[in-house]
């Protein structure tokens, strides 16, 4: 019998498990898992939200007064001079007519453009290829920087802590952007690695206590940073290969590509 992990049971407790029915059924059958689940429920029930201090009706005014002085009013947007030449009702009618005309013209040109693109093949494929190449190039650089950070993390001591956290913060912002781009391209392996990398970067950059040796050891164990380093190296070499292939252009081969 396959037992469910603590994570799966926690997820089930919060009502977000994708295997709800399966877990519910298993908990009826397996006394070990049922005991573990009961312990999780009991422990989490003990952790209650602290009572929020009461703020009276004047608090809103106080907060507003405290920030009002430092806020600059947005500049008033002046009305276009020519709108004042038209009476308002007439202006509304004119705007509606102009909008209709615009839609008709846009539909006409869209039709023509579609006809042309059908005749001249599909140029967007080439554009997408170029975009993918750019994404791969920047992701390749990003992986290289991440690899350096992971190696530094592996050999870090107290003296290297501050620059490491700064570097992690910068990489984190880039990583989010690249993950989204890669996700759109559908490369799930790369998305998953960037996801793992993001979790490590979050921990490193947000570590309030700084990076003590004990915390670094914890990170190594909890986040499997060695495994991630290996993953990043493999992906970096694969991305480099992809970029080179895209630079050479598609191969002219017969048969079905695999």
């Amino acid at each position: 019998m396959n037992h469910f992990s603590e994570d799966a049971l926690i997820e089930y407790h919060y009502g977000e498990s994708t295997a709800k029915d399966e877990i519910a059924h298993h908990l009826r059958e397996c006394s070990d898992c049922a005991r573990s689940y009961a312990a999780i429920v009991r422990d989490l029930a003990e952790i209650s939200a602290p009572a929020t201090p009461v703020r009276d009706a004047e608090y809103g005014g106080q907060v507003w007064d405290s920030i009002r002085g430092s806020l600059r009013a947005y500049p008033e947007k002046p009305k276009a001079w020519w709108t004042s030449l038209l009476p308002s009702q007439q202006w509304k009618g004119f705007a509606a007519a102009a909008a209709c005309l615009l839609v008709i013209v846009a539909a006409f040109f869209a039709g023509r453009f579609w006809e042309q693109s059908k005749k001249s093949g599909n140029p967007t494929v080439a554009n997408n290829g170029g975009r993918e190449r750019v994404v791969l190039l920047v992701v390749g650089d990003h992986l290289e920087r991440s690899e350096r950070l992971l190696v530094e993390l592996k050999h870090a001591d107290a003296a290297t802590e501050a620059p490491l956290q700064q570097e992690a913060r910068e990489l984190l912002a880039d990583n989010r952007l690249y993950r989204e781009s890669v996700k759109q391209g559908g490369d799930l392996t790369l998305v998953s690695a960037l996801d793992h990398l993001e979790r490590v970067l979050i921990e490193v950059s947000n570590e309030p206590a700084g990076l003590s040796q004990a915390r670094l050891d914890d990170l190594q164990n909890e986040m499997n940073t060695d495994g991630l380093l290996f993953e990043v190296r493999v992906l970096r070499s694969r991305v480099r290969g992809d970029v080179e292939r895209k630079e050479r252009g598609p191969l002219q081969t017969k048969g079905v590509s695999i």
């Binding site: 926690i10 422990d43 602290p50 929020t52 608090y59 507003w64 947005y74 993001e198 979050i202 309030p208």
Partner: protein
């Protein structure tokens, strides 16, 4: 008649700064509650409230007309609180650690009699809970508060923290595991 949020936002963007005061009043309690739960400190929560509404005002041009202002300012507040906890030096809230003697806690929890002792005990449990929470990283703490106390979904947590849903889920898992480990001595005699 009460103006809706979008009308107020339009007025503010058209130069009426004071109109923003109505939005502050409307969402203040929600923002304060989540700020307090994440920071665990009243004064810090007040600071977060001010910072969140200031950042909200400054970024009002980026607020999309289709979005909900309440959700938007809530996310800003979560981010401000997360940064606040991240900046806070480690150990600031650990002064009660000396009291956290597992042996004593076990004896105390076994006593279920009502009265002043019981009251004192529940305060101690709260204090131990706060100590355990302070051992979490800023991300873990925020993700846990949003999941467990604010009852937000993983998707909402990920959006508020600007991380991937899987990263949000993992942060909650790690937080729960660490809290269970930290509070384990309390359960021994139950």
């Amino acid at each position: 008649m009460e103006q809706n949020d979008h009308q107020i936002v339009r007025e503010v963007l058209a130069g009426d700064k004071d109109a923003y005061g109505a939005l502050v009043g409307r969402y203040l309690q929600n923002v304060f509650r989540v700020a307090f739960r994440i920071t665990g400190d009243e004064a810090d929560a007040d600071e977060v409230v001010q910072e969140a509404f200031m950042r909200g005002y400054q970024g009002l041009e980026r607020f999309e007309s289709r979005a909900n202002f309440g959700t938007w300012i809530y996310r800003i507040a979560v981010n401000c609180a997360l940064n606040h906890v991240g900046r806070r030096k480690a150990g600031t809230n650990l002064q009660i650690a000396e009291d956290a003697d597992p042996a004593q806690q076990q004896v105390q929890l076994a006593d279920t009699a009502a009265g002043p002792e019981r009251h004192l005990l529940s305060r101690e449990i709260e204090a131990l809970q706060e100590t355990a929470m302070s051992k979490l990283t800023a991300t873990e703490r925020t993700a846990f508060v949003l999941r467990h106390m604010e009852e937000r979904t993983t998707t909402e947590i990920a959006e508020a923290l600007e991380i991937a849903p899987n990263a949000a889920k993992q942060a909650v898992f790690r937080a729960v595991q660490k809290l269970r480990r930290s509070l384990a001595p309390l359960r021994v005699t139950q």
